[in-house]
Symmetry: C2
Subunit: 135 residues, 2 copies
């Protein structure tokens, strides 16, 4: 496989992914720019939607809020994060991001590495204690 050589990536070059009626943009990804260690996805969470409880068994993650507010969970702790605020999620740690507001929220999800072998994510939203955590 030849390595893509893009060094500058705009929305046009990003890898697109539809999620709950919005388009997420992978601005840094192995398939976009040959990244080895860093993945960056700009994701929009519509009002009332979110990314349920899950883990990334092989990836560390940072969530950076760009617009709006999110209810961010890391294990049993949660916080409302505003633009410019961050959550750090060590490899394999259960986490979730919800948008409890009335308007879209936009986040950057930064993940490392960009090349890995196992599943990207494991959904644990149907398992306790995560299923009952938001009450």
């Amino acid at each position: 496989m030849s390595t893509p050589s893009h060094r500058f990536i705009t929305t046009a070059e990003a890898l697109k992914e539809e999620h709950k009626g919005r388009t997420n943009h992978w601005l840094c990804h192995a398939e976009v720019c040959g990244a080895k260690d860093i993945q960056i996805c700009r994701a929009t969470l519509p009002a009332g939607e979110g990314h349920g409880f899950h883990t990334h068994p092989e990836l560390e993650e940072v969530i950076y809020v760009l617009e709006g507010e999110v209810e961010q969970w890391v294990e049993r702790e949660h916080r409302v994060l505003k633009p410019g605020e961050v959550a750090h999620i060590p490899k394999g740690v259960v986490h979730a991001t919800f948008n409890p507001t009335a308007k879209d929220a936009v986040i950057l999800a930064v993940l490392s590495p960009a090349v890995f072998t196992g599943p990207f994510a494991v959904d644990v939203s149907d398992e306790e204690p995560w299923r009952s955590l938001r009450g």
Copy 2:
């Protein structure tokens, strides 16, 4: 050394660094949250200032523009990047970021890994061809 346990990081918890009259914020860093693979610094470049040509011998980097515009170089190529646009800089590759506009530009610098042994950066701005590249 005990590992810091902060999972949620705001400007208040970030590691601060003064640079050319502005405060940069390390929102994800080994010393802030025990990060192993991801570092994130929100950096402000005043009008006419920048980060001259350098390498990170052990780190891959992504620049994500938050506000304003920057003149981003990756080796001999450059592009004006606007908010939401990205540059990907493989490990060891020479790069630079300048703000040629009349107002502050704000970028996120994402680097991986967060734990490494050698120097963070090597300045090559006095060496050719980098010294003469901007003409």
